[in-house]
């Protein structure tokens, strides 16, 4: 075990999996010579060479589709989007090709590919560079969607994603690359997709949080503990497949639930989780499910407005107090 940043943990996962399997290659904008726009791919070109670490032109639709084609005939591409904001250009190939190929070929062509890069809110880069897109991708059968919140999860989940035979959307939170945590150096350290992690145990209310909202929810839980409210923080880690059973179990124990997310509320992942809880655990709820989502607005630039658009500790605390009927 070693204390490393999220960035380093991801780098280790890439390096180990590329060493392990010749068919894995990495492509994207600035991933090779520039060492990665966020330095996640630092040193990979030097170790693995230009055949396997490939700088692409700024041509997202093209290289995403190229990756899917290469996956059809036996390669295992990792396609980096400099940020997921640019994946929007590539959605035809992600959705119409990668997600559906296995199905529409009657099971003949699996697509083992990872689309990865930073997503979610960044620091003051305004509307086009700061947004959460997971609900888009999670909507489609055929895709898997992964959102780690710690360096250990990032490493274990990325390694599993690379070994997975399906297209995986792996969203790293842009603000979290510098976060530190203990990470295993076992080359076979894997975290299976579709298994939630209880980040903090508690008895009075459940907070379901993913990605950037996990550390925020943990801080809220600490504050609430001081106020005498014991919170359980459940991190699904993968949005699809979603480990709804772990969430339901927690809700059945606490009878109250808040779902925190930085994405827009409308048609979001929290809305889906909320519906599932209603369908499976309605009789266990002592209060309506409460969502704490990002603003239903394009991300603004001004620092004060940006802060208002991203859920914070106090909002989560207030939401838990509301479902616990404390105020």
């Amino acid at each position: 075990m070693a204390l490393v940043t999220m960035r380093e943990a991801l780098n280790q996962a890439l390096r180990e999996e590329m060493r392990r399997d010749e068919n894995v290659f990495l492509m994207g904008e600035e991933v090779a010579e520039y060492q990665g726009a966020y330095k996640v791919t630092k040193g990979l070109l030097e170790e693995l060479g230009p055949k396997r670490v490939i700088d692409t032109p700024i041509t997202e639709l093209g290289f995403a589709g190229l990756g899917v084609g290469a996956a059809m005939v036996g390669l295992r591409p990792i396609v980096e989007f400099m940020t997921f904001n640019f994946s929007i250009l590539a959605t035809d190939q992600i959705i119409n090709s990668a997600a559906k190929m296995l199905y529409m070929s009657g099971g003949q062509f699996k697509i083992p590919i990872v689309f990865r890069g930073p997503g979610g809110s960044a620091f003051q880069v305004s509307s086009q560079h700061s947004q959460a897109l997971e609900s888009w991708f999670a909507y489609f059968p055929g895709l898997k969607v992964v959102m780690p919140s710690t360096p250990a999860d990032a490493k274990g989940l990325l390694k599993s994603s690379i070994r997975d035979d399906d297209p995986v959307i792996f969203i790293e939170q842009e603000r979290m690359y510098g976060n530190k945590g203990e990470v295993s150096d076992d080359p076979d350290f894997l975290i299976p997709l579709g298994v939630a992690d209880i980040k903090r145990e508690g008895t009075d209310a459940t907070i379901v949080a993913r990605s950037l909202m996990v550390p925020v929810a943990l801080k809220a839980a600490e504050k609430l503990q001081e106020q005498g409210v014991s919170c359980e923080v459940v991190d699904p880690r993968t949005i699809r497949p979603l480990d709804i059973d772990t969430i339901i179990q927690s809700v059945k124990k606490t009878n109250r639930v808040v779902i925190a997310e930085e994405s827009h509320p409308f048609c979001g992942v929290a809305a889906e989780i909320s519906a599932e809880i209603m369908e499976r655990a309605f009789d266990y709820l002592d209060a309506p499910v409460k969502r704490v989502s990002g603003g239903d607005v394009p991300m603004p630039y001004a620092k004060n407005l940006e802060e208002l658009a991203i859920p914070n500790v106090d909002q989560i605390v207030a939401a838990v107090r509301e479902v616990a009927y404390l105020d």
Partner: protein, 373 residues
């Protein structure tokens, strides 16, 4: 047929203005040859090939034609659903090009794909059963007319978003080079796909990274109901290669042997040097865009004019006049094709529908062992 090198095209571009001069030149550059001239050119190519190859090519063309005539009939009878885009009139393109590659090479194309699938070696039964939405279909009835696949014969679809297969094919060819094989990939698409970003992004990467992909633009001159003249600012598609420094040729797509020869040249470049090529193959579809297209955007006279250059009629005449095949030989091919098509329809008719349990199979290759149901 001319080889278009970037230098030549740059020179041609110098004396053009933004007033449409280029368009006129481009159209004039490739006037359709008369049926007589076409036949004479084809006959000159005939003698380079052995009889078996010629008969096989002829057989493939007739099979594609009769297969689709039957598919149209079945569509009208309600046995085929959804869209059904017929290839009738364009057979020389798929069959000529695919006759130039090996079994272990790859083919990707658009949704107008029945002939390509058959030419690559898929059985008429599996193609017809797929059209019928039956369990015996190549994609188990999940893909339909627009999504045929057969891994065994290297037929990689069947893609229904215009231009979507172009980056995919580039990736397949990229993988062949990565794996160090000498396989090549043929990527077919209609001329309307040339206006998509996917075409330009792919050609740029293909030449930048030198991948063995042969881009075959089947220019049938209409994107659904829109004439190319109303949709493309520079009509000479082979000239688009200049922007990416890719070798290109213009080919008369009514001559199956011309298509084969041009493809062979491109295949050699691809196998030996991992170089891509763009072929613009001028052709014409005799039927509507799909079965539901009344075709009001073309005159009967225009269609008839092109039918005089019917690639199968032309090839039949060449083979007959040059003494390669006799009347009895032609009858034998027709009889064999009739059997094949009847057998395909029989299998399609008799095959069960996909089992309802198939609805939820083939979504993920690595099962979701987690808990979401």
């Amino acid at each position: 047929m001319r080889e278009r090198k970037p230098e030549a095209s740059r020179a041609a571009a110098e004396d053009t203005s933004a007033t449409g001069v280029l368009d006129q030149k481009a159209s004039a550059a490739h006037p359709p040859e008369s049926p007589a001239a076409l036949k004479s050119a084809q006959k000159s190519r005939l003698h380079d090939l052995d009889r078996d190859t010629l008969v096989d090519i002829y057989h493939q063309m007739v099979l594609a034609r009769r297969f689709e005539e039957k598919a149209a009939e079945s569509y009208s009878a309600g046995k085929i659903g959804g869209f059904c885009h017929l290839y009738i009139g364009q057979e020389a393109v798929a069959i000529g090009a695919i006759s130039a590659i090996r079994k272990d090479d790859y083919v990707l194309t658009s949704y107008r794909e029945h002939a390509h699938a058959l030419a690559k070696g898929m059985t008429p039964e599996s193609v017809m059963a797929e059209l019928y939405g039956k369990a015996a279909g190549c994609s188990k009835g999940k893909g339909g007319s627009m999504h045929m696949f057969d891994k065994e014969v290297g037929f990689l679809g069947g893609h229904a978003i215009v231009g979507g297969q172009i980056p995919l094919a580039t990736g397949v060819a990229f993988a062949s080079k990565y794996q160090g094989t000498d396989q090549v990939t043929l990527c077919f698409f209609g001329e309307a796909a040339v206006n998509q970003g996917a075409f330009h992004e792919s050609l740029n990467m293909a030449q930048l990274w030198k991948v063995p992909c042969i881009y075959i633009c089947e220019n049938n001159q209409y994107g659904m109901g829109t004439s190319l003249k109303r949709a493309m600012s520079v009509l000479d598609i082979s000239q688009k290669s200049c922007a990416y420094d890719i070798a290109a040729e213009f080919v008369d797509g009514m001559d199956v042997l011309a298509v084969r020869e041009a493809t062979l040249r491109a295949v050699e470049r691809a196998r030996k040097d991992y170089l891509p090529t763009l072929l613009e193959v001028r052709t014409y579809r005799f039927m509507g865009h799909s079965m539901s297209d009344p075709g009001n955007y073309r005159t009967r006279a225009e269609i008839e004019q092109h039918q005089e250059r019917d690639p199968i009629k032309l090839f039949t005449a060449s083979l007959k006049e040059e003494g390669v095949m006799s009347d009895a030989d032609f009858q034998q091919v027709e009889a064999r094709v009739k059997e094949q098509v009847e057998q395909a329809v029989r299998v399609a008719d008799e095959s069960p529908l996909p089992d309802p349990s198939e609805l939820y199979t083939d979504i993920y290759a690595t099962p979701l062992n987690a808990t979401h149901d």
